[in-house]
């Protein structure tokens, strides 16, 4: 029987999220105090060796990202931290839980991240619809200034850091790091060509570290407790814990923080109280709309970045949308493709036109087309074409649900 391992969520439900004193009483801001006695590069090494990987979905080494940002353009007068708090992947609400219920933990991580790359300014780009997260974060920032954790000469260390809040305005694409930088600069959310990566040329042309909320929530704990402590959780290549947000046909949907490497079956049976009303499991969509369908054959696979990738699936943001026998794969796939069509910014023609055509083609499956199998194959082929000819991850996403739905559920799609 698997249990939750609450690391980043350790304070949830135990403290008043609007009280900085409550946070401090749990050992809060001790990570920052310790960090300020360390050399910036040793913080980066600590994070690197702890094995922390980006929790926003891509799973890239956080330490490497910091190292690149810290080492690029030595002559640049300013570098920045941008907190990706623009959570919008369908089925994902882990960052909302952190921001609403323990906002100081990610704010502390942000200040440590800024110190480690020698940035004196950070922006939190927070989703406009997340009103409670906005209120709580705003208060956390104000209280941190008041206590001297932000502003000039933080805790007499000589380090200055300002954090400002910027609100998104309803664009999924702005959750993609380069597009977020465009949006931060007061522009339409159209993606940038990469390279250059944000580490080289980020917001206002300066080296920029973009980190997700959950990633940053791990940082104070790693610094405070050390990399060995952190490495006791998870697996060799996927260290630490991960917050999964489970929705759909389970008895207890919600957020669960567990060690990396548990299986989908353990997540559903041990933590979510099993399938809703004992219905048979049919499928799960892992990672949200930009995620992959898995069927019953994947229930006992360990959910780590690398194992899922090897099996053609994704861990992504940690969204797990569970479907029972009665749910229609067509309906869910249609909803995903409609989502991409709506959120495509229109900059790359293959994505703009392609996501629209994919929805139309999918609908033809229900309108008496003669060779349905060929149509499913065409959809997979088109999604590959869109992926290879679009600039940003949005155009590269429809292939994920499309190909995996075709792999496991072609029989149902063509029936």
């Amino acid at each position: 029987m698997i249990k939750e391992t609450r690391v980043t969520l350790k304070n949830i439900g135990k403290i008043n999220p609007e009280s900085i004193d409550d946070y401090i009483a749990t050992g809060g801001y001790e990570g920052l105090k310790k960090a300020l006695t360390m050399k910036p590069f040793s913080i980066i090494d600590e994070i690197l060796e702890a094995g922390l990987r980006g929790r926003g979905g891509a799973g890239f080494s956080t330490g490497m990202k910091k190292k690149f940002t810290s080492e690029s353009c030595q002559s640049c007068p300013q570098r920045y931290v941008v907190v990706n708090a623009d959570e919008g992947e369908p089925g994902t609400f882990k960052d909302r839980v952190i921001m609403e219920q323990d906002p100081h933990i990610y704010l502390e991580g942000t200040i440590i991240a800024a110190y480690s790359i020698r940035a004196t300014k950070a922006y939190i780009y927070l989703r406009g619809e997340y009103t409670d997260s906005i209120t709580r974060t705003r208060k956390a920032i104000a209280d941190a200034y008041e206590r001297g954790f932000l502003g000039k000469n933080i805790l007499n260390s000589g380090f200055d850091c300002d954090v400002e809040l910027r609100l998104g305005a309803g664009s999924y694409l702005c959750g993609e790091e380069l597009t977020m930088l465009e949006s931060l600069e007061g522009k339409r959310g159209n993606p940038r060509i990469k390279p250059p990566f944000p580490a080289e040329k980020g917001v206002f042309g300066a080296p920029t570290l973009v980190n997700n909320v959950e990633t940053l929530a791990n940082v104070p704990l790693i610094i405070k407790n050390g990399k060995e402590w952190y490495r006791q959780f998870g697996t060799e290549r996927s260290a630490g814990t991960k917050i999964f947000t489970v929705s759909g046909q389970v008895n207890k949907p919600g957020y669960y923080e567990v060690e990396m490497g548990i299986t989908l079956r353990q997540l559903i049976d041990d933590l979510c109280g099993g399938m809703l009303d004992g219905k048979p499991f049919k499928a799960a969509l892992l990672g949200g709309a930009a995620g992959t369908f898995v069927d019953v054959s994947m229930l006992d696979e360990r959910m780590t970045y690398d194992n899922l990738k090897e099996k053609g699936a994704t861990l992504g943001s940690g969204a797990v949308i569970v479907m029972a026998e009665e749910d229609s794969i067509y309906e869910v796939l249609h909803s995903c493709l409609r989502f991409f069509k709506h959120e495509s910014c229109g900059k790359c023609v293959p994505c703009r036109v392609g996501t629209t055509l994919m929805v139309k083609d999918l609908e033809r499956l229900k309108n008496g087309v003669s060779d349905k199998e060929a149509l499913v194959q065409k959809l997979v082929k088109d999604s590959k074409m869109i992926a290879s000819t679009s600039l940003c991850p949005l155009g590269q996403s429809p292939i994920l649900p499309m190909e995996s739905a075709a792999r496991y559920f072609t029989d149902e799609l063509v029936s």
Binding site: G88, G91, E185, R188, S247, P253, V332
Partner: protein
């Protein structure tokens, strides 16, 4: 507050654009951005009117059309979709006598569809202005709307 007063509360840099636009829109009784307001923002930030308009046009939370006092944002993303959000939308449309994107003639309600609101553990969900409502049913929608009438 006048638009000028709202705008001048914010620092004069382009990265404040979205914050300014939110602030202006939230303070307009019809929750939208007028052309005059957008012109003033352009002037204040030394941007062209077309680039300000282009930004407003891009983001789904910003509107150049007058809207109701209460904006209902119903989530239609995959999880809510599995949980029968389309039925909820039809019910809302029928109850208020308008389609998604429209405003009631008494200017009280506007229905909009939204992408994932991050409330998936209690889907289907909607927001009315800043408040979130989960576990929607036809019955519950009726009760919620009554509170706003």
């Amino acid at each position: 507050m006048t638009p000028e007063e709202i705008i001048s509360k914010h620092p004069r840099t382009n990265d404040n654009l979205l914050n300014i636009l939110h602030d202006l829109q939230n303070n307009h009784p019809e929750q939208y951005l007028t052309h005059e307001a957008m012109d003033k923002v352009a002037q204040y930030l030394n941007m062209t009117k077309s680039s300000v308009y282009g930004v407003v046009d891009y983001y789904s939370m910003l509107s150049t059309q007058p809207r109701g006092k209460y904006i209902i944002r119903l989530c239609i993303s995959p999880v809510c979709h599995i949980k029968k959000a389309s039925g909820m939308l039809a019910h809302l449309e029928q109850t208020l006598g308008i389609r998604a994107g429209e405003t009631t003639s008494d200017k009280l309600f506007t229905i909009e569809v939204a992408e994932c609101l991050g409330q998936c553990q209690e889907a289907p969900s909607m927001m009315i202005n800043e408040k979130v409502y989960n576990n929607l049913t036809e019955e519950r929608i009726k009760e919620i709307l009554a509170q706003y009438k």
